[in-house]
Symmetry: C2
Subunit: 343 residues, 2 copies
DNA sequence: ATCGCTTCCCAAAGCGCTTTGGATTTGGCA
DNA sequence: TGCCAAATCCAAAGCGCTTTGGGAAGCGAT
C-alpha cells in the first residue's frame, strides 16, 4: 500500500492525504480523521526512503561502533547504550543505523554516511583524548553528539558525559576516609578520555591527602575480567600490596575479587574495592544491597538522553550545542571496609 | 555531488555514468575508467535512498532487538553478535538498521519494516519455543534468518544455532564421569528455545545414567550474575545440596562462584561448575587456561555466519533455506574436579 | 447579487537514482 | 562503396513521497 493507492482509495489527492497524515492544518478535521482511519485499516506507513528523498532528511541516526581490530573487543556497555538510544529514536520516528568498523576506517565511514545522506547525524562512541573524529565531523558538517568528551579540544560540540573525574575522586576519598593509604587503580585504556579523567580524579584525591602517587599500583588496559584479575593478582603478590582498589568497571572488579579470594583474603575486610558501575542490565551490582561499593551511572539513561540531545540539535541547527554532565552516585556496598591494621 | 552534476561534469548522460559505476557492459572500458576516476575525485557515492527507491531493494538488514519491558534486560551477547554480523554487512555493501522494541510490539515493527520496504530482510533474535514471529514473517513475506531455532514449528526457514542439547548433554556427562551424582542446572528463561534445549540435554544425560531428575535443583531465569548467585546460594544452603552446577552463561557462573566461595567452599574441589561460554570479547573465560570448564561457541562468529546466510538467501530467493548447527567445544578448565567423597 | 475571506482540496514538479527503449556511431565484410 | 551488426551512448519514465502555487466552494457582509 502506498500513498497513491491510498488516496485513490479515499477519492482524495495525494497532497491531501499526505497533509492529513503529517498534521498540516490545511485539511479539515473530518477528512483527517477519515484518512487516518483508512491508513490504519490498510496498515499503511510511508516509505522512509521516499520521504527522505523528498525532504532531504534521512530520518536516521548513525552509530559507528569502533571495534579495535587488535583485540576484537566490543565495549560491553554498548548494548545498554543502544537500547536507551533506540527508545528515543523509535519514539521520535527515527531509525538507527549501525556501522561496525575497525578503528582505522572510521573517518571514511563518516564521509560516506554524510555524502550519501544516509543519516541526519551520528553518535560518536568512545572518544579518545584529542579525538580527531570531532574535528572531522565538524569539517564535513555532519551533526553529531559524543558519548563522553575529548580532552584537549577547544571547540564546542554536543556531548553527554559522566563526571568521571569527580566520581573517581569521591571513590578514592571514600577509601582514604576508611583509613586506606595504599590504593591501587585498575583503569580502562588511558587513551580513552573517560579513563584519563578517572585517573586524574584518583590522583587528585591522593594528592589532596598527601599520599604518594605510585605508578606501580596504577594499571590500565582493556576492561575484561581477566585484566582485572591479573592486575589485582600481580599487585597483591607484590610486597607493599595495596589494601584497596578502584576499578573502572564491574567486569574488572569481578576479576579483582577473584584474585583477592584466590589469595584467601576477604573482600571488604582485608582488601576493599570501589568500582564504577554502568548499571548494565545483565550485570546488576546486587539486587537489594550492592555487592560492590560503586559510583553508579546508568549508561542506558545516557543513551536515551544523548539521542534526545542529538535529535534536538538536528531539529534546531542554529541553537548552540548542548552539554550535559551527569554525576555518578556513590553507593556503599559490602566490598569496602576500614583499612586493615598493620601489626 | 550527485549523479546529475557528475555526468554534466563529464559531458556524459546519467545513464552512462550510472552504468559505468555499476559495472554494466554497455560502456567502453575507457569511459568507465574516466567515470570511476571522476567519481573518486569528487568523492561521489550514490545515495542509498534514491538507489533503493529506484531498485526496490533497500540494501539494509534489520535487527529487531526485543527488550523485555519487565526487566529492561538487554541480552549481553547482543554486542558481539552485532559486531560479527556488521562485518559481513559492510563487506557486502549492506547497512544494518536496529530497532529496539519491547517484546509486545515486535510484530508491528516487522510489518512496518516490511511495508515501508525499509530493509531487505531481518535477523530474528532470541527465538522462543513455537515462536510466532517466524510464521508471521513467512506470512508477510519478509526474508529472515533466525539466530537459534524455534522448537515446535514444522516449517523450514533459515537458521543458525548451537547444538545446545548436545552441549549440555556433554557438560552433564562430563560431570557424571567425574563422579557427580547430584548436578544442578542454572538455566536461562525456559520460554527461550535455547534454554529449553539445554534442559533437555541435561535431562537426557541424567536419564541415561539413571540419575533422578529433581526440579528442586533446576532453576531458570534471566541470566544475570545475581540470578546465578541467588540460585546457587539457595541450592547450596539446602540439605542435599548439589555437588556440581551446569550454567547457561558465564555471567551466571560468576554468580554461582560467588555463592560457592561465600560459603567457604572451593570451586573445582568442593563444588564443580560447567558453563556455556559465548566467547564474548569482554568476558573471556581466562587467557591461557580457562577459568571455567565450558562448552564454548563464539557468538560473534555466529553473527558473521548468519548474516552471510541471510544475504545469500536474499540474493537467491528461489534456493532452499539454509540451516547450520554449530557444535560447541568442551574446554576443560579449573572449575571442575572429582565429586567430593561423602564421609 | 457581488465581493472578499476562509476553508478545503488538487495538479504537477522535483528529490537522486535505475532502466527501458531507442538513436547514433563504428567497424568488419562482401 | 554499401550494408549490417555491434558498440556506445542518451532521453525520459518511474520509484513514493513532499511541497509549491494555485483553484473551487462556502459564507457573512455590503
Amino acid at each position: 500500500m502506498n500513498l497513491k493507492e491510498l488516496s485513490k482509495n479515499l477519492g482524495l489527492s495525494q497532497t491531501t492525504v499526505s497533509r492529513a497524515l503529517n498534521g498540516y492544518p490545511e485539511v479539515s478535521d473530518a477528512t483527517r480523521l477519515r484518512v487516518q482511519e483508512a491508513a490504519k485499516a490498510h496498515n499503511y506507513s510511508p516509505s522512509n526512503r521516499a520521504k527522505g528523498l523528498a525532504t532531504g532528511r534521512a530520518l536516521a541516526i548513525g552509530h559507528v561502533i569502533p571495534v579495535s581490530n587488535r583485540h576484537e573487543m566490543v565495549n560491553p556497555i554498548f548494548g545498554d547504550f543502544i537500547a536507551g538510544a533506540g527508545e528515543t529514536y523509535s519514539r521520535r520516528g527515527y531509525e538507527m543505523v549501525l556501522s561496525v568498523v575497525d578503528d582505522e576506517n572510521e573517518h571514511k565511514v563518516y564521509e560516506s554516511l554524510s555524502s550519501r545522506r544516509a543519516v541526519d547525524g551520528v553518535v560518536v562512541h568512545g572518544p579518545r583524548m584529542g579525538d580527531s573524529r570531532i574535528a572531522h565531523l565538524q569539517k564535513i558538517g555532519l551533526p553529531f553528539a559524543v558519548h563522553g568528551r575529548a580532552s584537549g579540544l577547544d571547540s564546542t560540540y554536543t556531548w553527554l558525559d559522566v563526571n568521571n573525574r569527580r566520581a573517581f575522586e569521591r571513590a578514592t576519598n571514600f577509601l582514604i576516609d576508611l583509613g586506606h593509604r595504599r590504593i591501587a587503580i585498575i583503569n580502562g585504556l588511558e587513551v580513552m578520555d573517560f579513563a584519563y579523567r578517572r585517573r586524574e580524579g584518583y590522583k587528585s584525591a591522593l594528592g589532596a591527602n598527601d599520599l604518594p602517587i605510585d605508578p606501580k599500583i596504577m594499571r590500565s588496559g582493556e576492561m575484561t575480567e581477566v585484566f582485572g584479575y591479573e592486575s589485582a593478582r600481580d599487585m597483591l603478590d607484590d610486597d607493599d600490596a595495596p589494601t584497596a582498589f578502584v576499578c573502572s568497571s564491574l567486569v574488572c572488579a569481578l576479576g579483582a575479587r577473584r584474585a583477592i579470594e584466590e589469595r584467601g583474603l576477604v573482600m571488604g575486610k582485608d582488601v576493599s574495592i570501589v568500582t564504577h558501575d554502568d548499571a548494565l542490565s545483565y550485570l546488576q551490582n546486587g539486587r537489594d544491597v550492592p555487592i560492590f561499593t560503586a559510583t553508579r551511572s546508568s549508561v542506558r539513561e545516557a543513551g536515551r538522553r544523548l539521542a534526545q540531545m542529538l535529535l534536538d540539535q538536528i531539529a534546531n541547527p542554529q541553537s548552540p550545542p548542548q552539554q550535559e554532565l551527569l554525576e555518578a552516585e556513590l553507593m556503599v556496598g559490602s566490598s569496602t571496609g576500614p583499612a586493615p591494621r598493620k601489626d
